[in-house]
Symmetry: C2
Subunit: 347 residues, 2 copies
Amino acid sequence: MCLEHPHRRLNPLTGQWVLVCPHRTQRPWSGQQEKPEKNELPEFDPTNPLCPGVTRPNGIETPAYKSTYVFENDFPALVEVVPIPPNSDDPLFQIAPARGNCRVMCFHPKSNLTLPTMSAADIVVVIDEWISQFNELSAKYAWVQIFENKGAAMGCSNPHPHCQIWSCSFLPSEPQLKQERLRTYYTTNERPMLADYVDRELQRQERIVIENPDWLVVVPFWATWPFETMLISRNNNKRINDLTLEQRQNLAVTIKELTTKYDNLFQCSFPYSMGWHGAPTGPEHAHASSAHWTLHAIYYPPLLRSATVRKFMVGFELLAMSQRDLTPEQAALRLREVDGKCHYTEK
Amino acid sequence: MCLEHPHRRLNPLTGQWVLVCPHRTQRPWSGQQEKPEKNELPEFDPTNPLCPGVTRPNGIETPAYKSTYVFENDFPALVEVVPIPPNSDDPLFQIAPARGNCRVMCFHPKSNLTLPTMSAADIVVVIDEWISQFNELSAKYAWVQIFENKGAAMGCSNPHPHCQIWSCSFLPSEPQLKQERLRTYYTTNERPMLADYVDRELQRQERIVIENPDWLVVVPFWATWPFETMLISRNNNKRINDLTLEQRQNLAVTIKELTTKYDNLFQCSFPYSMGWHGAPTGPEHAHASSAHWTLHAIYYPPLLRSATVRKFMVGFELLAMSQRDLTPEQAALRLREVDGKCHYTEK
Ligand SMILES: O=P(O)(O)O[C@H]1O[C@H](CO)[C@@H](O)[C@H](O)[C@H]1O
Ligand SMILES: O=P(O)(O)O[C@H]1O[C@H](CO)[C@@H](O)[C@H](O)[C@H]1O
């Protein structure tokens, strides 16, 4: 089904269409050049507040941590206690409360590591920390967004390997939309949408990047970013904290392989934003059915043609609809073929 | 209503919420630095295919144009003739046809001009060209998206002053969503949503940037980009081609003033994506009512704190919901106060 001409595809998780343009990567580019991200940082940078033993701008010292380290963001977007905003019944001026918190989680004490260059055992430690954070925060909050912005091109403000965890007293727009659409699909088909999707991708074998007993990585049929992937649980997991030890170990290997492929594709430290989506949480959702959900992670990497030429989601994309310059099948083929075992810096 | 604490606001045009965080611009930034865009290009660059008399990569020579110049994009995302894609009743693999075309429109023969440094008379010529293009294309296509990506930070691949016009045989996602929500509002309130919105912003006087008899520029109550603005018709215009001469002249002055304010804010050539939204077109919509629509332009500028520090729409924004680091009222105040008459390069 590798269509050769412009067409649209539907994202069944959001109801949005994406415009797929198979041959647009050939156009000349004299626009912005990214600085390729190299793996060339020092192991320890005494001026970087995320390094063990360094004092942060607010005077608190980052401890001499040995594995992962989690702390409250010093400049949080969400805080636990906020006054309730005034009520308005004007449909044009609707305000709603927003409570939550924002944490930063360092993956490793060394600044010069990234997930693809960490060992699988170290990645298991990261996954376990995600789970212990999720256990604590999901008791209280409706949505716990674990996400990693990697690389300056994806707005990462500090090169030390880390992710963020933002917890919300409400369901944000994307999860809210998924919640509704997954539920509708489940009502009609009596199966979780993403379980059906995994089955059909396994049959079609057109967009698969990595496949193992616990996890499937595909460039989704409706991908918008050039090398976007979804990492989907094959075990009917609903949330990150219901993974077994084996599933976690397999996840670590899968993450290492996927991010190694990414780095090897353009021989650079591949930037991306990634994050986890699963069934909503908190007192509000504790007793609701989560049967329609399937745990999955999404990777949004911006690079399009090389380490220095990215895709911009601008003009038409912001004002009209998402648009991509190669097909998901073309992207999947390249990711499938590139080496996922040996990182280019080790060759 | 300048709220001091994190809260959410609803965009009534899309139904999406945005997370508003009033005090997040103070956090330290060691992430990507933009190259500030300066107005320092040569008037004529013999290697730039958008300059008069230069040969484009495909061998066609750009004529020695004297005002605006429109040509078909050599690498179009949309083309007029495409085979109809295969039908599928699998809800997970939905494909739809996409026909259209893509044009590039140069604003002026000189490379070193931008809208704020062009004369109002020259901007009228641009508006008139928009209208003549729209007249031609709207006869055939359901949606004609006129948009400008300005600056490398907004993915502009050529610094010569220009915009693009992408025409679609279908309604893209954003206009489709607006179409539905504007119609619902009209059915309930018997008034176009944006006409009501203009009235209320005029009453509240909290987010207005520029006000004249024909046009209102506001930072919308639900803005997501730091200095996002909407330029709204106050005359119940439905589409760009129903503007009177006076409205067009006033529009030119308004555009010049708004973009001068933008440039003066951080003393640089302010990057943005902007585009026009109005009632849908083409044979399909020719006989439908457009009473619920109000012609408006939207500006999405990325800069947040200075000419070199932008807002990234990444991680949480992609995976959960839009988030902004200052309130719309704070942004409006700064844009209102900054000089809109004299460009900083002329001081
Ligand atoms: O056609 P251009 O200017 O090269 O391309 C620019 O605008 C397009 C439409 O918004 C985007 O799809 C591209 O990502 C962007 O770089
Ligand atoms: O908190 P950081 O890493 O400085 O900030 C980064 O991630 C945030 C969450 O996605 C975004 O809102 C910021 O625009 C981005 O720069």
